[in-house]
Each structure stands twice: as C-alpha cells, then as structure tokens.
Symmetry: C2
Subunit: 209 residues, 2 copies
C-alpha cells in the first residue's frame, strides 16, 4: 500500500488560494504575511512551494515583492485603487485659511484615481437646497479642489462676507455672478469686495440612510 503523502492540485487553483490568503491577511492585519504564514493559511507544508507560487504571482504582475525583504508583499492592484484622505471642513472660520486645523473636522477617504492632486482637495457638507438643479442636495458632501480662480460654468465654493457658499460661477448681463441652481434662490452678484473663490467642486458624495 502506497501512502498518499500529498495531493497535486491544479496549479492555478493553488496560486489563487495563495493570492486570496495574501489579500485576506493584509486586509485584516494591515501588513503582509510571511512565507510561513502562508503555509499555515493555505495548508501547504513547504515554504519553498509557497516561494514558487509567489514567484508565479509576481511574474504575472499580480503582486509586488522585493527579494529578501520580510513581510513586503503588496497587492499590485491596490496601486490603481489607492486612497487618499482629504480633510472634511466643518465650519469656515472668518479670516482663517480654509485648510487651517481649526476648520478640519475629520478626514474622508477618496479614490486617488479621481484626482491628480489630492493634497489640494477638501470636503464640505452641504447645507440648504440652493443647488438642487445640479444634483447637489442638502446633506451631500462636495469634494473641492482648492484654487483661487475658476471658469464660468464651474460649481465653486465661494466666501461671501465670511460665509461659505456653493454656487455656479456664471456671467450674466456683463457681470460675474454666483448662480444658485434653484429658481427660488436669488443670483448673487460677484463683486470683488468681500468675495473670494475658495475652490471648484470636483465631486459629490451622498449617503442614503
């Protein structure tokens, strides 16, 4: 009687097993598993077998690993799905830079792929329904790129007499105005005195309860 010492499963399946355990491990622990962790996690008994599978995963571009480095496996796909944390601005204090520490309530994670310069972004919670026509509702979060100028048609965050407001920047009858997207609100003349553009809306997030 020959004793069955191991089973030789389909390689692709085993590689998948290893890959899944890596992602799972990183997700729960926050750092990469070791070769021996993968042994325990997958039931594979030899470190060299894991090693071979890791090479396959690296060669197919699914993971990144540096030779010799411990716990240095990273999921290649995460690169595209990188996340930045941008500040959520609660109140806009008068005379204080928008991103000053006292303004920042917390940080929200945002897909980095959506923006080229996430370090210049901030988020703002919408109060009121003046922008309903643009699909921006009360309670929504807008993600704003900080910049002093904007184009006509852009939805901007502006400071008017020490109050922050979100409106569409437009040109009407020869004047630059801040236009609400709701007929029951009045268009605000944008005269340079006391008016300041803080940034341009680049994204909207709404959570349904």
């Amino acid at each position: 009687m020959t004793k069955r010492k191991f089973t030789k499963a389909n390689v692709d399946d085993t590689v998948e097993l290893v890959y899944n355990y890596i992602t799972e491990y990183i997700k729960t622990n926050g750092f990469s598993p070791t070769v021996r962790d993968l042994c325990k996690g997958t039931g594979i008994r030899s470190t060299s077998t894991i090693h071979a599978h890791l090479k396959r995963l690296r060669d197919s571009g699914r993971i990144d690993m540096e030779a010799g480095k411990r716990r240095a496996l990273t999921i290649a796909a995460f690169e595209q799905q990188k996340v930045d944390h941008i500040p959520l601005v609660g109140r806009v204090a008068a005379g204080v830079p928008i991103l000053a520490e006292e303004n920042i309530d917390s940080y929200l994670p945002v897909p980095a792929a959506f923006y080229t310069e996430p370090e210049h972004m901030f988020a703002l919670e919408i109060t009121g329904d003046s922008m309903i026509g643009a699909g921006i509702l009360n309670g929504d979060y807008v993600f704003v790129k900080k910049q002093a100028g904007a184009d006509y048609g852009d939805i901007v965050v502006a400071l008017i007499d020490d109050e922050a407001t979100v409106k569409t920047l437009a040109r009407e009858q020869g004047r630059t105005v801040l236009k609400p997207e709701n007929p029951s609100y009045k268009t605000i003349p944008f005269d340079q005195e006391g008016c300041l553009i803080l940034g341009v809306v680049r994204g909207v997030w709404r959570a349904h309860v």
Copy 2:
C-alpha cells in the same frame, strides 16, 4: 575641544519625526519600515533609540506593533479610516447573479464607516436622467446594498426583463410601482413576473471633470 557626537532634541519632537516617517513610508511602499529603515529615514543612528521611540508610540496608542514581528508596524488611526473595495458592476447579464465575475468591471474604494456590511455592496454607473429629481444624474455612480426586498420610498436597483434600472419603489393606486424621479418618464408597474429587486441605493458618487 569636545566633539559634538549627537544632539539631544526634545523627545516629543523626535517621536513625531519617527511617527511621520512611518506613515510616509507605509504610504509610499505599502508595507511597514524596519527599525533600521527608520534609522536612515530619521537620521537617528542607533536601532535601540528607534526601538525606544516605537515603544513610546505603542504605549500612547498611536501605532500597533507585535513583538518580534518584522515590518509589522501599523498606524492605529488608519483603523477608523478603513476602506473597503466594492465591485463596480458594468453590465447586468441576464440570468447571472449580479456579483458574478463576468459582471464586475473593477473595484471602487469606499469609506467602510459608511456601511455596516461592505461585503454586500456593489456599485453601478448610471445611464440616463430618469432620476434627476432625486439628485442622481447621468454618469453618477450609485452604491448599492444587495438585498431582495425594499421599503416604499427606497431607491432601488431592479431587474426588469433582463435590464437593470434605478428607480424609486412606491405604492400608487393600490399597486407597487417603480417610479422615475423625472416627469418625462413613465411609472413602471412592478408586477412580480420578470421583475426582481437587486438592491437598495445607499450612496451616490459624482465626479466633476
């Protein structure tokens, strides 16, 4: 002449230096730095000094570390800002489970704090303007919790004759209907034949170009 071999800076400042380098390193590399990496990064020459600072950071609850484990530092604050990646469903193939592999285009990162069960979520890109009244525009992404039932008033993703659509579930004149939030679209009767609720919209994301 006494040779100045090292300067003894304020401990808090040095701890901060170490902490910042850890976050920076993890952000760029995807895995934790080693004690010796931190030496190079901070200019501190002794591994034991770094070790002492790491203990301080752990004791003050700012980082997590397990004794003996290599490259296993994690930033404690990241815990609260955890991100889940939920599948972006491109097409909805007839007769195939919504989360089947062939439906999934890619994955989007979403703040885990927003949902209790991110593993049951999927995302869908909106085509058309039938939900303008609810602030859901063409090109928006909706984040959907997968469930077979829903309440009246919920915005649902439903399958009607093998086509996925996003509408408000409502009751009108004694019948259950799928109601568009746009007067130029017709209300769709929700008869059980060929009609299926795939999930309920929990979030909306819009990126302004």
